[in-house]
Structure formats: C-alpha cells, structure tokens
Symmetry: D3
Subunit: 189 residues, 6 copies
C-alpha cells in the first residue's frame, strides 16, 4: 500500500524524477514488505513562487548527477588511459586502495604499480549497486570480471572483482578495489 | 527543501519507522542535493478502518527485518561455527562464492574448504552498506579486515575483505566474498 | 491509479467509514476506468480540536443512516402489516405511486386498494441500488419478484417488481412502484 | 465539512472532471449529512512524469463515457428504429427483459414482439439515476411516461415506465423494463 | 518544523502570494516558537476546473489590496492636501479621532481643526504594523515622528505619533491618532 | 475557499491550537478576500516517531505564551504597583517611552516620573491587537481610556491611550505609550 508523496520545487527533468521515483520505491521496500506495484510515488512540483521558507522563495538546486554514471564514466576513462579526463573526475583528497599495496592518491602511481601486475585489463560488469550513505557520500559498487594479459603476455580472464566508490558533490573521493588476481596469479606462476 | 510524506497502515514500531525515515531521507539525496537537515519526512499512519483498496480495508504486513542485522547475525553464527543456526538463515537455493574456488551451496563444504586456507578467521567490520535492489533482494555489503591464523598456525591480521549478500524475505539467498588472503598468503609463503 | 483522500472530523464508526470507502470507490469508477483494486481511499480523521472553519471548531454530525437499510426495514414492516411502525418511517408529505391507481399518501388507503389486487404478497429481493441524488434525497431502488395470492386465493409467484424510494434525513418521502401484476393478472383472469 | 482530494494523472477534460466532482460530492452525502455547499472536492492532476507505481510512470486511461449519455443515445436510436446503430451499442451477451415476455437477446425479436403491443411508442423522461455497481457495471435508471398508439391505432399516453440498464466498458449489457402498459391495455381492451 | 500548506484557486500574482507566504509564516510564530527558517509554506494552486464546492467550480476572488499600502497612499494624499483623492479612499461612515477634539467624519472639518494646531505637518515613518482583526477590518498601525510648524510659524520636530487605521474591502473606515503635540505645545507656549 | 493545512509535532493544547487556528485564518484574510466561514484550517498532529528531519526525530517546542496575555498580566501588576513581579516580566535591555519624557529603563524611574503626572491611573481596555513582526518580536497593542486623579487630587477620566509592546521569548522588550494626558492636563490647568 504505501503511498509516498514528495514536494519539490519545479526544475527537475523527467529522467531525474524517474531516478527519484525508483530510489524512493526501493527505499520503502527496505522496511515495508510491499511488491513494487503496490508502492505509489507522487511528486508535487511547486512553482518557486509557491514555496516559502523563512518568508522567502527558494530556487531549486540542480539535481545530483547519477553516481553510477559518474563511476562508469571514470572507469571507461581509466580503461582507455585518458588520465587527464579521469583525474578531473576526482575530488581533492581522493584516495584509492587496491589489493596488495598501500593506498595511493595519484593516478600516475596507480598506473606504475599496475604495470607490474598486468599489461592491460578490461572490466566486464555484472552489476552496479548504488546507495546514499548517511554522510555526504553516495556509494557505488560495481562488480564483474576482469580479463587482460599478465606481464609476460599470457592472457587471463574471468577474474572476479568488486570496486567500491564514494562520490561527493559529483566527484569521486574514494575507491576501494578487491579482486582475485592474486588467487589466479599464484596458479599462473 | 524536499518534503516527503508517506502514508502507511498503522502497525510499525518506532524502530521500523526510524529505519524508514532514514532510508527515505537518503534516497532523496541520490537525486536532490539537499543536506539531510533540509529533508523532512512525515509519516501518516492510517488506522486500518481508514484505508480502503478495492472497497475493502487492508492489514499492514509486518515490517521487513533489517537486512544488515540479518547479515550480522549470520556472520556471528559462522564465526562461532554454529552451523545449524546459520543454515536456518539461508534460503533454499543459497549459493556462495569465495575467492579461488567454485561456488558452493553447503556450509559443510565451505568449512572443509576453508580449513585448507586458515585455522580460524575473525572479522572486524569497517562498515555496512544496505540497499534494496530493483528486484526482490535487499543487498548488504560488509567490509573490514580479517585476522586469524594460517594453516601452519602463524597469525595474520589486517587483511581487507568485502562480502556482498542478497536477502529475500528475511533469508540470505547469495553471498559473494572478496578478500586479500591470496595477496598475503603469497607473501606469507 | 486514483487516490482519494477524505478529511473528516473524528466520530464515524468503522461501518460508516466502510460505507463511505465503498461509495467513494464506486463514484470514481463512473468517470475513471479503474479496477476497484486500483482505487485507494484514505480517510484522515481530525480531532475536533484540529479542525477550524470561521476560526471555530466544529462538531461532526452523526452519519446518515444507510438508505438501503431504511427501505429494507420499511418493506419488512409493510409485509408484516406493522403499519404504525411503517408510518413512523415516512416523512411528512410522503407520496406513493403504484401501478394502475392514483398517487396515495396514506398507508391505510394503500392497504385498502391492495386488498382488491391480492390477498397477500411477499417480496424476494434480487438487488438494491443506492445513490445520492443531486438534491437532498438519497434514492434507493429495490427489485426482485413478488409471490402471493390473488383475491380468489390462487397463488402467484415470480412476478417482477421494482420500487424506487426517495429518502431525506432518514425518512422516506416518495415511493414509486412498477411491477408485472397486470400482465399476470390478465393471464390469470 | 468533508474535504475530498483526488489525485489523478493529467488527461481528463473539464467535463469529465466536473462529472467526477459531482459524483464524489454525492457519494459523500450518502454517509455524511452535509449540504453540498459544505463539501469541497479538490483534484490534483499529476503530470505523467510525476506519478510512479512499481517504479514506472503510467498513462491515464481515457475517461469512462457517461453511462446516462450512452443510455439516452441508445433509447433515441431505438425510438427512430435505427437498429444497426443501436445494436452497435450492445455488448456481447446482451439480454433484455420486458413485461410479460421472456428475456430476449436480439433487437429483431424485440421489434417483432413489440409490434403486438403497440404501433409505436415515445418516451418522455422524468429523470435519470446513475450509479456504479460494486461490480463492473454502471447502472442507469431512466423513468418517465410512454405515449404512442395501440395496435388498433388508438392513442395512449402518460403510461409510467422505468428502465434499468447495466453498462460495462461503454457497452450496454442488460436492460430491464417495467411499465404500466398492461394496466392501461386492460382498461383499453 | 511547522509545514503550512494552503490550497488556492489559481489567480494570485507572485507578489500577492509572497504577502500570503509572509503572513502565514508570521502567524505560525505567534503560537509555535520556530525560527522563520524552520517554517515552510507550500501553496497549491488549483485550476478552477479542479476545485468544486457544492458540485460546482468556483472563481477566485481578486486579492485584497495590501492594507499598509492603502494607508501609506492615503497619508501621502493628506500630506499634499489632495483631499478629493484622499476622500475617495474612505468608506462611507468613516470616522476619525484626533487628540483633544471630538471624532470627525469630514476631511474638511479635519483641515479646519488642524489649522489651529499647526501650519503644516510632515510624517517620518518608523514602522508599520498590519494585522487582520477577527472581524472584517484589517488594522494598520503606523508610527514615527512629526515635524512641521506651529501656528506662529515656529518649527517643531521629532514629535512622536501613532495612527491606527481600520480598512474594510479596500476602504478606510476608521482612523485613530495619538501624538505628543500637546506635550510639546505646552512647552512651546 | 482557502484551505490551510498545518503539520505539527503533537504536543499543543486545545487552547494553543485554537489560537493557531485563529491567527492562520486571519492571516489568510489579509490577502484572500474570504469570509472567515469560507476558510478551513486543518491541523495534522504528528507523533514524534512520525516526523524526521535530518534522519532524526524531533521534539515539539512548548508553545509561545499568548503575547496579549503577557501584556495584560504586566499591566495589571503595574496598576497594583507589584513592581517585583512586573520587573520579572521584562527582558534585559527593556526600554519604555512615555509622552513628554525621555526613554526609561527602570520601573522605579517610571514610578517616580509618573508621580508628577498623576496620583493614580486605571486603564479601561477597548481592544488588543496582536501580530508577529517579521523579526523575533510579537507586537501587542492595547488601547482604551485612562481614569485617575491629577496630582492635586482632582479626578480625570476618559483620556484616550494606546500602548505598543514588543514581546520576545515571553519577555517584554519594549513599551511605547501615547495618550491624551497633556491635552487634558492643559485644560485642567
């Protein structure tokens, strides 16, 4: 049954509202055991002249970019080694942690380190999971399998991976990576 | 600004409503760039005699159990090797995937396999992330570090891990595990 | 989809609210082609201290009696010839029109006239239809079949009838009757 | 006092909304003893991008045709013996019951049978009553008086009649007719 | 926290709605101890085809003119002695009471009387206070200081005054004036 | 027509809600030309477990004391010269301005000064006007007539007065007084 109403200042696109309709529906289901079809979301858009807080009208803030899209774009740029563009998507203070090494802050360091692990790597995605943390960061998980070539040129494939990203104000602040490369590398060696 | 209203048939506890208030607030923030303090959630509880669908009243379904709590409880039971109780938390068709081995369906198989990897292992949690998938499964991520003993008795600690669980109707249907055990084991060897 | 909300001052019983939920659902369907299950009715009951019109609180008026029940009760009283009780259910100015005679205002006149038509008559109901007219009268239709005995004692049965009642403020103001008695009487004669 | 709010996907005409405003007002009065002027109906029209059920937007269904208009049109076509057009307004399985004969399903049969009853007949309407049944059928009552000519050419007039129609999805599924023709014919004979 | 929603038939200007947003916010604060920023006002404008009372649509009445502006305009006209225009702003039955004289009804009488008090006077405003009385009158207070010349031509300044106006349907019905002219005049004499 | 809804955390008394219903009704009328009877105010009280801002529940603040009552109480205490109790109703920084003297801050100074003006004085109230300013102060006007005795013991009566008070957080911060004492005193002298 649950019926959700949200009051918004006018100014969001159909796509942005659709994203909102979806996440509100999903959120309800974390507590109320309702099929999606039993959950209604109604959005009431208010003209800015119809909304007052503190006696004054307010302007709507532009929508948050889809964090999953930000992460997808970043991963594409990294795969094609477009490091400048990738760098521009990172927040100041960005930190990334990969298996078997210390946290890094620079894409240059990452590339250097990775060169010892593989010649190249490509991600096949199985799924993305997105949620808003209780703090400012949206959290994006992507998981799937890696394929590529070991430093000696031999191919590998089907190695499981998962990445966890934190995104704040449209910039990536944190990346954590887990994968089975060490499992496979041992057997490769 | 966004103001969220949700209409519910009466019957949820203060804790359940708090969880709902939190996830609705968080969901809004995935699209609308508002500070939490700028997001209001109002819940309107309807007496069952005040809600009609199809001309008839409806009863509220009991709340969904907190998926994070389900996962925590399961992981505790596994750590203490209370396999019967752990098994009772698994859905039929449960499948788990660990690093460096094929998917398993039985806790017995898991225990046997793990015995070759370590004598024991303890999890220290850094954080849980919970979201409702677009299907029926709630998804729970937990991450942190492992400590324990290798098969030869030597201790290890501070090994990063992340688990991904799917929970449907209060039962765990799927567990995927990634960790740096292979990274550390290699150096251990 | 349609979602109906009604704001009421507290004071109606579960039965009265159920009647209201039903008629609101039905009313929607006269214009919006929705299955009943797609129509939600939510009732918001306001404590009298929470409702103000003209700066003052208001008391809820007792619910309107179910007009169908009023008509059923009246017809029962007439079948058992409890004329005093039946009379007490009629408004001043009550008028009734039966097939083949002029309008009557007195139950006594009706009984006298009916005596020439049949010895007794019993109604089997097929259905009641109730609606609120655009004026003050609620309108109740009941239809079904008559059985009884002609003045000569011969039995009849299965004669179609329909009655139309107007009910204002709990009293019956008008009754119009149609039936096939003349059709059957001709063949009987 | 009662205040009714209805949430609709945008797409209904002013006339359709007026019909809805009227029937909702009338429905309330079957339970709450309020003058029409004390009943407020507010319609909230939602852009399709502002309404979600099951995470997806929905399109509004075209309004239900006014059942009273359907019946009026049908009766006009029958009076002018435009049988093809009249037939097109009937649902499959249509059944009609007239005084003193068995139920009929074909307009042709009806015309044949009526030819023995009168040369022609014209209806003067006193009123229409419309309601939605609890099932799929809208119910339309029309009542008034018949005038016309007996088979022998003599005129009659002022004969009371009432028709009950059921209308489903814009088609007439059932017609039940009662009138005083037998009463008058007897005296005519 | 308080959230105020007001449902209006469409037809008010942004300025009129802003005035409404302000007075509703202020009104809440007379009872609920909330900072203005904690008070949200949402206005829901209804197309006339979406609002029904007594089964019929209604037209919105033009907004009430800002009573403070009416009073300001009147006082300007009086200062420039544009008596005809000032007179046109007064309701029939207008009555004014000034210090040390009987109530007057005619601007001509006022001018005559004032001529004995001062050669001219100019108002410097410190503030306006506006409220709606519980009756039909809006009440406007304006206060500040007077400067001008005594009948003997000597200048005065900085004399405190306060005026209280009642405004009904856009016309001034009552003016009450208090000031310290007598205090100062005594010392002047 | 206007319909006002206010959402409040539960915890206000019937009297406090009545005050709120009145001021909201009055506020609407400053902009919308509706009779009071055409203005509906509905209050929706939320259990604290049903209201969330920033993901957390909130407690309702105790209602603001009626500023008119505060002023009445203060004036009574001053009339009976209960200076300690009166003093306790004043905010720090309280300032009062009376006709023909400089602003004062101490009740003692006021009493001394007044002793030169009259032996005693009593207020008869004609009316109170209360509004919330756009800042933190509620503003209370009271007006009426003074009676009492001049320093020489001769009686006076029917002298017009008006007081303007500012009240913040339940304490009086400012009092401004105007009256016709000087007008009458001159004639008395």
């Amino acid at each position: 049954m649950p019926i959700v109403e949200i009051h918004l200042i006018k100014g969001y696109s159909a796509d942005e509202k659709k994203r909102l309709g979806e996440v509100l529906t999903d959120a309800v289901r974390l507590v109320v055991p309702a099929e999606p079809d039993a959950i209604t979301v109604m959005m009431h858009e208010l003209d800015p002249t119809n909304y007052y807080r503190g006696r004054t009208t307010r302007s709507p803030a532009p929508a948050v970019l889809d964090p999953a899209k930000i992460v997808r774009d970043y991963l594409s740029l990294m795969e094609t080694r477009d490091l400048d563009a990738a760098q521009s998507m990172l927040a100041e203070g960005f930190m990334m942690t990969f298996p078997g090494t210390l946290p890094m802050t620079s894409l240059k360091d990452l590339i250097d380190w990775a060169a010892q692990r593989y010649q190249f790597v490509t991600k096949a995605y199985e799924g993305f999971d997105v949620l808003q943390g209780s703090g400012d960061a949206a959290i994006v998980y992507c998981r799937g399998t890696l394929s590529g070539a070991w430093p000696d040129g031999k191919r590998f494939e089907n190695i499981r991976f998962i990445d966890r990203f934190e995104v704040v104000a449209g910039k990536i602040t944190k990346q954590d990576v887990w994968n089975d490369i060490a499992e496979k590398r041992s057997s490769h060696e």
